[in-house]
């Protein structure tokens, strides 16, 4: 039925948005009741108050030296914090390097962008074979990525430590597995969303599928991919610090140890070191991003 001329077209009820909002709010409330969440639980008990007060009292006065007697020849606290920071960076760097390699490979396999290189645009010999192999590669890559991503690095660490013991490699791999998955997922999306005009122009000028992908499409996605890899490096710093809880000499290890010994000043020293580390990484990746994407 044609609308009357001059009448403003009626706004059609698009339905979903309001419904989704209601469901989300309802789910939040339901989860809260189910868990019996009570704001009063945030009030600590008797002993808790003392610990909390003391811990936060030290926030403004982090320790510059050990709070207890230490044996002769122990490295000064600040040097120890620096060393822990160095190891935190090294674990993170090793893990992210590994992740970028696998992330790029899997991300490529899980993207559909490289399918456009097909010079005949779907005509010619070999097309049927190509067409059936591609979705297979795509599907397998997607499943692998999801498997890697669905398990957190701490759980991977538990599994790998049980299997291989407290080796450096277990820690690196524990971080690298979920990080490869995340990088691959995001890389594949960046490749698929990159503007395709230059790739298509390259194809129109006779370039081969590999040339179309490498020189027409990849350069469009590369700045974003690089910036994202740097952001993940920053995340890897935190993960690497937390792996200290398993006994690796990264910042987490010393935070946990100092806390157990009630050396709250030292806890803050290590926390601030981690903070500075992450802030530096953030600043670095920001500067890089401005240059690449800018």
């Amino acid at each position: 039925m044609a609308p009357e001329p001059g009448a403003v077209p009626g706004r059609r009820w698009s339905g979903h948005r309001g419904l989704v909002l209601v469901v989300i709010v309802a789910a939040g409330l339901w989860a809260g009741f189910e868990l019996d969440l009570d704001p009063r639980d945030l009030l600590p008990g008797e002993g808790g108050w003392a610990i909390a007060r003391e811990l936060f009292a030290h926030a403004l006065s982090p320790a510059l030296d050990y709070e207890d007697e230490v044996p002769e020849g122990t490295r000064p606290l600040l040097l120890k914090a620096l060393e822990a920071a160095r190891l935190t960076v090294i674990f993170a760097a090793a893990a992210i390097s590994l992740s970028v390699v696998f992330g790029v490979l899997l991300g490529f396999a899980a993207s559909t962008a490289w399918w456009i290189g097909d010079p005949a645009g779907g005509h010619g010999a070999g097309t049927v074979a190509r067409r059936s192999v591609r979705p297979l590669i795509y599907g397998v890559a997607r499943v692998v990525i999801t498997l890697m991503r669905s398990v957190h690095e701490l759980i991977w660490a538990v599994l790998l430590l049980a299997a291989f013991g407290l080796s450096q490699l277990s820690a690196v791999i524990a971080i690298a597995i979920p990080y490869s998955g995340t990088l691959a997922k995001v890389f594949s999306e960046m490749l698929d969303e990159a503007p395709r005009d230059s790739a298509l122009a390259l194809r129109a000028a006779g370039a081969s599928p590999a040339q179309v992908f490498l020189f027409g499409l990849l350069p469009r996605a590369l700045p974003d991919m690089t910036a994202y890899a740097f952001y993940r490096f920053e995340c890897a710093l935190r993960s690497s610090a937390v792996l200290g809880f398993f006994g690796y000499p990264t910042l987490g290890y010393f935070i946990a140890a100092s806390f157990e010994n009630l050396h709250y000043g030292e806890v803050w020293t290590y926390l601030y070191t981690l903070f500075v580390l992450v802030a530096l990484a953030d600043w670095w990746s920001g500067a890089l991003r401005r240059r690449l994407v800018g």
């Binding site: 645009g121 010999a125 230059s198 390259l202 194809r203 027409g216």
Partner: protein, 261 residues
């Protein structure tokens, strides 16, 4: 087709998207080195026609011959060879904004290089090639922009980069798609003059699509009028009169909003 200039022949070429016909039963002959314009309203099939001529689109029926080669029967390898000799200047330019001008121009040559060869050309361009790119940029008037990042250039300068890239292909034909649609009148004339000059100098066949009728009549010696995917006229510009153009652009109301693909 080797180097030199390309001839084109369309025989009852049709392109259909589903039930919609973008180009219908077009017969067309273009001699080597000719300068031709495709004119007509938006959605008339001008871009589709150019895509037939550069071999990215295959006719649903009918034939497209480039330099005597029937595109429909060419193996993929030969098809790529043919394409590498046709310099398309896309309406959206299709440049890579985050690369330097030099690289964007060098990319024009990839169609004739191996994967390794193209990596070498792009990452370690030999002096000779850099000089050649600089010459081409000088020719189109932006020689000093050789090492500039492409996204720092103005729209007009970017278009010059796209033209230089097409010329670096050492093309047998140049196919600019709406080359002046986003330029002011002075720059439009400048660009038309440049396109025709470089093609005449190199003996390159030129087929440009334009919706700006005045520019087309001023610069192009032969015009092919398209409407609804069909050829309405195909004559030397001097033999066309206002009535021809009036008929071409006199749109029925329902055609106004039909922009075509």
């Amino acid at each position: 087709m080797r180097s030199g200039s390309a001839s084109f022949r369309l025989e009852k070429a049709c392109v259909r998207y589903g039930s919609e016909a973008a180009v219908e039963e077009v017969d067309l002959e273009i001699e080597p080195g000719e300068v031709v314009g495709f004119v007509g309203p938006s959605g008339a099939g001008k871009t589709t026609l150019l895509r037939l001529l550069n071999g990215t689109l295959r006719p649903t029926s009918g034939k497209v011959l480039i330099g005597g080669d029937d595109l429909g029967s060419l193996p993929v390898r030969r098809l790529r060879e043919v394409r590498s000799r046709i310099g398309m200047v896309h309406q959206d330019l299709s440049l890579i904004p985050n690369l330097r001008v030099l690289r964007n121009v060098l990319i024009g040559r990839l169609g004739r290089l191996s994967l390794l060869g193209s990596a070498r050309l792009l990452f370690f361009p030999p002096r000779r090639e850099v000089r050649r790119v600089h010459e081409l940029l000088e020719r189109v008037g932006i020689g000093e922009k050789l090492y500039e990042r492409t996204d720092r250039l103005s729209g007009g300068q970017r278009q010059r980069v796209a033209i230089a890239r097409a010329l670096y292909q050492e093309p047998a034909a140049l196919l600019p798609d709406e080359p002046i649609s986003s330029l002011d009148p002075a720059r439009s004339r400048d660009t038309m003059r440049l396109l025709i000059e470089v093609c005449r100098e190199g003996g390159i066949t030129l087929c440009a699509s334009l919706h700006d009728l005045a520019a087309a009549r001023d610069f192009l010696p032969r015009l092919v009028g398209l409407r609804g995917g069909r050829v309405v006229f195909d004559r030397p510009t001097t033999e066309l009169d206002d009535d021809d153009f009036h008929n071409l652009y006199d749109l029925a109301p329902e055609e106004m909003l039909n922009d075509g693909p």
